[in-house]
Amino acid sequence: MKEFKGSRSYVASEELLRAVNIAMVLEKPLLIKGEPGTGKTVLAEAIAEALGKKLIIWNIKSTTKAQDGLYVYDVVQRLYDSQFGGEGVDNIEKYVHLGKLGDAFLDDEQVILLIDEIDKADLEFPNDLLWELDRMEFHIPETGRTVTAKHRPIVIITSNAEKELPDAFLRRCVFHYIDFPDRDLMAEIVRVHIPDLDEHLLDQVLTAFYKIRSLPQIKKKPSTSEIIDWLQALMHAGINPDRVMKEIPYLGVLLKKNEDIDVLRRNWR
């Protein structure tokens, strides 16, 4: 069993590394929670890269149903084809298209399946997947076929905590909460993304960044991706680091809501 030790572009805490390895060894889904922008989604990419495995991403939307991940039976197409006596209409298999979960099960090698933002979906969504994630198989009644995983995929599930997940589902997962990085870890993360960085600029930016985050009135707090964009914008424009704390140039990169920008302008000193 290979072990995950972080990757070149992803800085993970020791606890996180451990949680990933525990999930892999115990063959349980890993549930990752945390504020937006703490790198939940990127984690799956980093694991895939580090272990040299293929990554299958199943993006969950508010309209996604558990069934969509298994298979879709294109009944309309079949009905149309039957009108013209097309080839293979009696072969239902032709009209059954596997979803992301199905793809992950049938892949010839072990893959990593990322179920992204599971809390976006309906309240009952996670419950509908219990059996499939436990047994790693599902049945297609239309064709009488049972799809069983050739290799048990490593399942990573992310949640923004918008909805509470059902207990039965939680019981089956390994849980990890990604804390918002503290200043030192953030500095390390930023350096991974922007290698040749002026330390003075970084220092000023981090001070401003954590000060903005600490303002209670800010609704959408800036996160890791914003600070990286901001640094890049500042470097691109060649802004003098000493102006950062005073003027907060390119504020729009950091704050995405008009009200937040107004709040900051009023409260900054």
């Binding site: 509470e164 390994v174 709040v263």
Partner: protein, 397 residues
């Protein structure tokens, strides 16, 4: 192995099941804790705890149960305060002491630590005996001993074999006994499916297709229908502060449920204090600079919104009736709280008032406003049942 720990956790309200416990045993068999104490702690936490809100509770159970294993008492806050000096100057490195420390076994260190905890009365730093920072002793933080127990502070040399008294997740704790899921389920009743509403026809209509195909002499006619989608839009107005403080948990459970249900087409939330006048506030702190005029809300939020008021409806009668608080400058606007409520009522036909408090049994002073408001809005108690009844009321046309 240590089943008592399972019962301790369950006793403190953590819902740890057998599934999780067996998974922990399996993980221990496979040596996933890497034979280290910290590893064991992380392993337990990521298998047994499923919400960051429970981390603190778990930490204190863990400390309580494994306290005898590593040390005798919890680390006092006083000691932690002494130890919170990350930027202090470094003490001197003492090679002899370092060698001596390395010969100590973990058990010996634990024992010494328990002793110090009993005898230490003041701050000691840079030394080699007491629990302190930047020194050579085997306890404290930011020190230079090649081995030891970190108490407080931040990991620096990464040489500690154990972290005592660390409860990082204190902030997340919410002693929220109310199950918001119950509320969410009740809120799900609040739905009105489109069908008449203008939406593209994207859903395959089996019945109509069969009907039309049959009418067409067996020649296929595919029919689509409009998808069913919740069209309910909600405006939530919450009383904040003052007499509402005691209902905070209840109201926040409702708020969580309403915002997290996410199945409404649109949701707007505003706050007021006791009674609504010319301004509604965007957050519960009720600052003037973060407010919206009630007039704007009435003009911009259409009448098909379902309005849910949450408040105890108890205030001094003059707060509801007097002209003092209302917009005095503009004669076109309502002149008292009561008039504002009436205006809102006439604009939004489907409104209910959810009340976390019961009608006061005695004293006209408090029940007066309660009754006056109950006359304007259908009032329901803020319980799961009351919420269900309220939802039914909101759906009547």
């Amino acid at each position: 192995m240590f089943e008592d720990f399972l019962y301790l956790l369950r006793g403190s309200g953590l819902k740890v099941s057998m599934t999780e416990w067996m998974a922990l045993q399996e993980a221990l068999d496979k040596n996933l804790h890497e034979a280290s104490f910290t590893g064991f702690y992380h392993l337990c936490r990521c298998l047994l705890v499923k919400s960051e809100a429970d981390f603190d509770r778990f930490d204190s159970c863990f400390l309580e149960y494994f306290r005898n294993v590593p040390f005798q008492q919890e680390v006092s806050q006083e000691l932690l305060n002494w130890l919170d000096r990350p930027n202090a100057g470094q003490g001197e490195y003492d090679e002899q002491q370092a060698e001596l420390n390395e010969t100590l076994s973990f058990d010996e260190i634990e024992e010494m630590f328990a002793e110090r905890m009993n005898e230490q009365r003041e701050q000691h730093n840079c030394g080699n005996y007491w629990v302190g920072t930047h020194g050579m002793s085997v306890f404290g933080n930011s020190g230079m001993s090649p081995i030891g127990i970190r108490v407080g502070g931040k990991s620096q040399g990464k040489r500690a074999f154990r972290v005592a008294g660390e409860r990082r997740f204190r902030d997340f704790r919410n002693d929220n006994t109310l199950d918001t899921r119950q509320f969410q389920v009740a809120l799900r009743r609040l739905r009105q499916y489109s069908g008449l509403v203008d939406l593209p026809k994207t859903e395959f209509d089996v019945d109509q297709t069969i009907q039309d195909t049959a009418d067409n002499g067996g020649l296929l006619k595919v029919r689509y229908k409009r998808p069913r989608e919740n069209t309910v839009k909600v405006l939530l107005l919450m009383d904040s502060g003052g007499s509402m403080e005691e209902f905070n948990t209840l109201c926040s459970a409702l708020f969580q449920a309403v915002t997290k249900t996410g199945h409404f087409k649109n949701l707007k939330v505003y706050y007021f204090h006791n009674c609504i006048y010319s301004r509604l506030y965007n957050d519960p702190s009720l600052f003037y600079r973060n407010s919206t005029t009630t007039e704007w809300v009435i003009h911009n939020i259409p009448g098909d919104y379902k309005v849910i008021y949450v408040g105890d409806a108890q205030m001094a009668p003059h707060e509801l009736r007097s002209r003092y608080y209302a917009a005095r400058q503009n004669a076109d606007l309502p002149q008292s709280g009561l008039e504002w409520f009436q205006l809102l009522r006439s604009k939004y036909r489907n409104s209910i008032w959810l009340n976390p408090s019961r009608r006061p049994d005695f004293g006209d002073y408090w029940s007066d406003t309660y009754d006056a408001i109950a006359e304007i809005f259908p009032m329901f108690p803020l319980t799961v049942e009351g919420l269900e009844d309220g939802m039914k009321k909101l759906l009547t046309r």
